[in-house]
Structure formats: structure tokens, C-alpha cells
Symmetry: none
Subunit: 132 residues, 2 copies
DNA sequence: TCCATTAATGCAACAAATTTGTATTTGCAA
DNA sequence: TTGCAAATACAAATTTGTTGCATTAATGGA
């Protein structure tokens, strides 16, 4: 799916910043932080604009937030865009990359009265490249 | 277990700040952030002291770090103290509380070459109180 | 109990991520 | 093309967390 269609399907205006973010994410295949995305787009946009774009696209369900342990928020394309189902993420504690694991998640039993919106699992460890 | 014994068992000095943190955590039953704990202890200690206390107690295995989606690190009493094993956490998107779920975690299958250190699962949704 | 050692604390300054306010620009529909 | 709402840039503020250093306090031994 192209960036234009993604934005239109979610009733968002097509802007250079949003299209840039989506393009970077689609080619990277990993979850990226604001600073990582910014470095790919080389100073074309203000940081504030990135943050507002993330929020807008998250609210629209295009992106979803992923947090690991270094207080840097990352975003990944959501299931609606990739077609993948909810899956665990792997965080490499050496190179700090985040990979999507090709596996589906099972929700744990919740106490009565609790309801679920979203499920996130993060496996921390060392990736193949850093283990080599 | 009392705060005195917990600290002694982990070869840590018994200080007012550490005992305060542990007391708040034991009565709260939830994972708490620096600002949440500080508000419970009403300006008795410097923020730096909290952060250093967290780190010390985390390194000693008394506390463990939990990160959800609002870029605020929280700490919960570790298994060594509560007797519970590694478990999923529930994050209420309404009141932003973090609860420990009484259940154990199963590690997903990893691609070859990857190794695991730690496992974290966060269920996002609305808690009983906010659903009422 | 008193003392020395060593760790813990407070304070100031810093750093990085993210947010907010506002004026200007841009996308898009009429 | 024109107008309006939404997006953007820029500046400044907030918030979370860290680091260096001087002072204070906890603990074990004399």
C-alpha cells in the first residue's frame, strides 16, 4: 500500500512529513524513534512536527507506539497497514534495534472488570548480528 | 516482610528514603514512578535520591523496572520480595496505573542466533475502577 | 559509647525527550 | 481560485532522568 492511500483511508491530509515518515517506516521494517526517523529524513522537518505527526497517525491507527527500556518511544506500522497480526517485539540490548517477531500473541486472563485494548510483549536479549 | 529485613537481606543500609519507598510500594500494590512515590512521601527527599535509591534497589534485586507507554519508568517489588514469579503487567489507559497480573509468562520462539535475557508483557486497557 | 570508614544524601547544573503557544503556511473542498 | 481548517516551524517551557561534588549519616569495630 502506498503512503497516499494509507493517509486517505484514514481521512488524513497528505503532507510531506507524514508521507516521509511512512516511507521510512515501510522500507526499514523496524520500529523507529523520532530521532531515527529524523536522521533518515535529514533535517527536512521540525521535531515538533514529527511528534505531532506521530500522534495524529497513532490516533488514526496507522502507527502504534512501542516502548522498551531506554525511555525512547518508537513507532511501528500498525496491523491495519501491514496486514500482520499482533506480535511480540525483540529488543537487542546491544545494538538497540527492535525487531518484530513472527508470531501471534495470546492475551492473559484478566481480573473481572478489566478490559483489553492492546497487547504488547517485548523480549529483551541479543540479536543474531550482535551475538556473532 | 518488613522493610528492615528486605534491606538487610540484600546487604543494603537501612535509610529513611529506601524504607519510605518500600513502604509506599508495599501498601500500594501497584508499580509506581518516581513522581508517584515522591507525591506519597511529600517532599521529604530529593529527586536524585529517589533515582539513586531505585537503581540501588534494582541492582540488588529488590525492585524491577517496568516501562509502559508514557515514557515514565516505574518500579515494582521484585519476585524475591513478593514471592511472585515473572508476570505480565496491566496498564490502564484511563488512570495510568500499572497492575501486576497474577500469571506467569511464556517466552516466544526466537529466530536462530537470538538469545533472551528478559521478558516483558504489557496488557493495555481499562481497569475495573475506571470501567465502573 | 565513640570513632572511622564508606555509603547515602542534597544541591546545582546538565541533558534529552516531549509538549505547548502562536504566527505562518499549506491541503483540500466548494 | 479562494477560504477555512489543519499542519507546520520556531521558540520556550516541561518533564524525566543523570552527573559531580561537598556534606551528612549508617554501621561495624575499638
Amino acid at each position: 500500500m502506498d503512503t497516499f492511500s494509507i493517509l486517505r483511508n484514514h481521512n488524513l491530509r497528505r503532507t510531506a512529513c507524514r508521507e516521509g515518515i511512512l516511507k521510512v517506516m515501510m522500507t526499514s521494517g523496524k520500529a523507529l524513534s523520532e530521532s531515527e526517523i529524523r536522521s533518515h529524513l535529514m533535517g527536512n522537518f521540525d521535531r515538533t512536527t514529527f511528534y505531532r505527526s506521530f500522534k495524529t497517525m497513532e490516533d488514526s491507527g496507522i502507527l502504534h507506539k512501542i516502548v522498551v527500556d531506554d525511555r525512547m518511544v518508537r513507532y511501528g506500522l500498525s496491523e491495519a497497514v501491514t496486514g500482520k497480526s499482533s506480535h511480540p517485539h525483540f529488543y537487542c540490548t546491544t545494538c538497540h534495534s527492535v525487531f518484530c517477531l513472527d508470531q501471534s500473541l495470546v492475551a492473559p486472563q484478566l481480573p473481572s472488570g478489566f478490559s483489553t485494548d492492546d497487547l504488547e510483549m517485548i523480549v529483551k536479549g541479543v540479536c543474531k548480528k550482535c551475538n556473532a
